[in-house]
């Protein structure tokens, strides 16, 4: 869908594989900066645009800031948190599987701040989920909420 075309061709597209306004030809860095400031729903939509966008929208650094944006008080060093969460499946999985379900309405997601207990609970659940899914585990099934 995204080809290296000249701006002229891009602007007068006749073949409509894309929405009305063409996908802007941003560099990776710019795109990353834009997505980094987006909320969760936007990230979800962005991941559906193209495989390049998907790769960027699912970047762990972005999701780490999504999660950190919401946590009221950390209680531990960010580096500490990062290494643990990444080892156990990542921030995106943490968000999708264990934080997002606590939000009753979709629209409230971006405004919500999670308390320390909710953070701890979601991390505990992430641990349990990871442990369950480990090889030789009692239940090798994937935790739900995969794919955004």
């Amino acid at each position: 869908m995204k080809r290296a075309v000249s701006p002229d061709t891009a602007s007068k597209k006749i073949k409509t594989e894309e929405p009305a306004s063409p996908v802007p030809n941003l560099t990776e860095d710019l795109l990353y900066e834009v997505l980094r400031r987006a909320d969760e729903r936007t990230l979800g939509s962005a991941a559906c645009v193209s495989s390049r966008w998907r790769r960027l929208a699912q970047d762990e650094r972005i999701w780490e800031s999504v999660c950190l944006r919401h946590w009221a008080a950390l209680g531990c060093a960010p580096g500490q948190l990062r290494s643990v969460v990444l080892a156990l499946g990542g921030f995106r999985k943490l968000y999708i599987s264990y934080l997002a379900p606590t939000v009753p309405s979709r629209s409230g997601a971006s405004r919500r701040r999670w308390s320390r207990d909710e953070l701890q609970m979601s991390l505990s659940m992430l641990s349990v989920g990871f442990f369950s899914g480990m090889m030789g585990g009692p239940k090798g099934k994937l935790p739900p909420g995969q794919g955004i």
Binding site: L88, L123, V128, F130, G145
Partner: protein, 587 residues
């Protein structure tokens, strides 16, 4: 809805009853007409008022059930208004009679007069919301159906249940009774298949009464009465839906075992040889499906985390490690501790495996791998023990005595109650715990007294407890993190898990009866005597638990309560599981 039906009419087909009830319609109805109703346009004789009221109730019931019943084939055939015949509704009495007569037209002969399903199979019909069912009254024993019917109909002596149930069902005729063709000597071609239109609420109450009566009969060793009641129970249970039916089935099976003493236990419920691996599987499903065990783990972990604050070397002894599901969360919490994780040692106690597989070591390996993933220094020691009483303090000692002393916590989730089956075992265990001098002794147990000396008390308590449990399973059969259709394997496995407990409580005695649950008050007494004092679980634990419930969609019915520093999780008003923490009393 209390209905007082005179017992004069036992069983009769609808028509016969209706005829009897029909006021002489040819008579003039002008005299004694009730004035208030007359003002509304209805002509009802004052003397008929009570009668009319009753019939209105029946009609409402019958029509209501007809509307909701969808699965029973017979209902479809019945139809409520087969022909459009208009009756004058202002003559309320007659109109009601005619309506009821239509409803009571005995169902047309079933198109396939099939034999009833083999009685040995579990009742597979689906009453669900509808109370109109076809059922096989012989789901437990092989008695002759017609004899069965007669017994139900005339309600001979035993159990008030049968006589009153048939009388209420047969009154006037909102229902054909269990013996649907009593006036015809020749039974229908499908003797086992009957039609019952039953008020589920009433049947539910009668079911409970029947269960209690049966338990009482068992306690009094009145096996004949118990035998009769068992059959009634299966009949009544089939009219129920959902949780009540399942609970009743488990309890009646357990009672049947107790009554008939059919020898060594077989099958997934009671066979001890299938116990360990199957039990582990059921335990896993129960863990996944409902929040009780998660609650237990997370609240205990919070207490342990707080007890370990500032300690560089920590040791946890788990009295029943099973699949080790409690520990990943604790290891992770320790990993995120400000200041870094301590070195963590875990001793997992488990029973010997029948097939000599080293389940204990496998769990340890997994946990070690997990700890390695998040860079927590981890050591594991598996301790095989037939009984917790076999554990001596030296087995839990720290072998590498380098550096700081260990801070020890002993954790027991639903492991202590089985010790009560053998006298003296609990005391030995508590003595060992005392000698180890742990910083904390976390205990989780079912919040119920299923260890009374009297069988009937035990039975009653268990009935209420497990009814509530099953209700909670039904009421919360999906959560956002674990979407599943109702009736999926997880739920069924969880019910089986509970069913085994029910079986043990009701059908076993002596050293076999290991599910000797006791409530917080009782445990507190025991711990006090043994020299322990309570440690209050903090508000953090409470908040954690509340957050856990928020993640469970079916969290509507769950309640967390704090009782003297202990936390309990229950369904609506009934506490079902309790977490408490203890330490050795300062001398």
């Amino acid at each position: 809805m209390k209905r007082e039906y005179p017992d004069s009419v036992t069983a009769s087909s609808g028509e016969a009853a209706a005829k009897g009830k029909l006021p002489a319609s040819a008579q003039s109805q002008e005299e004694d007409v009730d004035e208030l109703l007359a003002a509304l346009g209805y002509k009802v004789r004052s003397s008929d008022m009570a009668d009319v009221a009753q019939k209105l109730e029946q009609l409402e019931m019958a029509m209501g059930m007809g509307a909701s019943a969808s699965t029973a084939q017979v209902t479809d055939d019945m139809g409520f208004f087969p022909e459009t015949v208009h009756y004058n509704p202002s003559d309320l009495s007659t109109w009601l009679d005619s309506m009821l007569t239509e409803l009571n037209t005995p169902p047309p002969p079933l198109p396939t007069p099939s034999r009833p399903p083999p009685p040995s199979s579990a009742p597979s019909f689906d009453p669900a919301e509808s109370s109109t069912v076809t059922f096989d009254p012989n789901s437990i024993s092989q008695t002759d159906p017609s004899r069965e019917r007669k017994r139900m109909r005339t309600g001979s002596g035993s159990g008030s249940c049968s006589s009153s149930s048939s009388s209420s069902l047969g009154r006037g005729g909102a229902a054909t009774t269990i013996g649907s063709e009593p006036v015809n000597p020749a039974p229908v071609t499908a003797p086992g298949l009957q039609v019952v239109v039953v008020d589920p609420q009433e049947a539910g109450v009668r079911l409970v009464h029947a269960l209690m009566a049966c338990a009482e009969a068992v306690q009094q060793d009145n096996l004949k009465a118990a035998d009769v009641l068992i059959k009634q129970i299966s009949v009544l249970a089939s009219s129920q839906g959902g949780a009540m039916r399942k609970v009743a089935t488990y309890f009646s099976e357990a009672l049947a075992r107790r009554i008939y003493r059919l020898g060594p236990p077989v099958g997934p419920i009671s066979d001890p040889s299938t116990f360990d691996s199957f039990a582990d599987l059921l335990h896993m499903h129960f863990y996944e499906t409902c929040p009780y065990l998660k609650f237990a783990h997370f609240t205990a972990n919070q207490a342990i985390l707080e007890a370990f604050a500032g300690c560089k070397r920590v040791h946890v002894v788990d009295f029943g490690i099973k699949q080790g599901m409690q520990w990943p969360a604790l290891i992770q919490a320790l990993a995120l501790r400000p200041g870094g994780p301590p070195s963590f040692r875990l001793t997992g106690v488990g029973p010997p495996q029948p097939d000599n597989s080293d389940a204990l070591q496998q769990v340890g390996l997994k946990l070690a791998q997990f700890a390695h993933t998040i860079r927590v220094d981890f050591k594991y020691h598996g301790l095989v023990a037939n009984s917790l009483a076999d554990i001596e303090p030296y087995m839990l000692e720290d072998e590498s005595r380098d550096g700081e002393p260990e801070a020890v916590v002993i954790n027991s989730v639903c492991e202590l109650h089985s010790l009560l089956a053998q006298p003296g075992e609990l005391d030995r265990v508590l003595d060992t715990v005392q000698k180890v001098k742990p910083k904390l002794f976390t205990v989780v147990e079912q919040e119920a007294n299923h260890n009374s000396g009297l069988f009937l008390d035990r039975f009653t308590e268990a009935l209420h407890y497990y009814s509530t449990m099953f209700d909670s399973l039904e009421g919360s059969n999906s959560s956002p993190t674990e979407p599943q259709d109702p009736g999926q394997p997880d739920q069924v496995m969880s019910e089986l898990y509970l069913g085994r407990q029910i079986f043990n409580i009701v059908a076993c005695e002596g050293s076999d009866r290991t599910e000797r649950h006791e409530n917080l008050v009782q445990w507190r007494g025991r711990f006090n005597l043994a020299g322990f004092e309570p440690v209050h679980l903090g508000s953090n634990a409470f908040k954690q638990a509340s957050t856990l419930l928020a993640l469970f969609a079916g969290g509507d019915g769950y309640r967390i309560e704090e009782k003297d520093g202990c936390l309990t999780l229950g369904w609506h008003t009934r506490s079902l599981i309790a977490t408490s923490a203890w330490r050795v009393m300062a001398a």
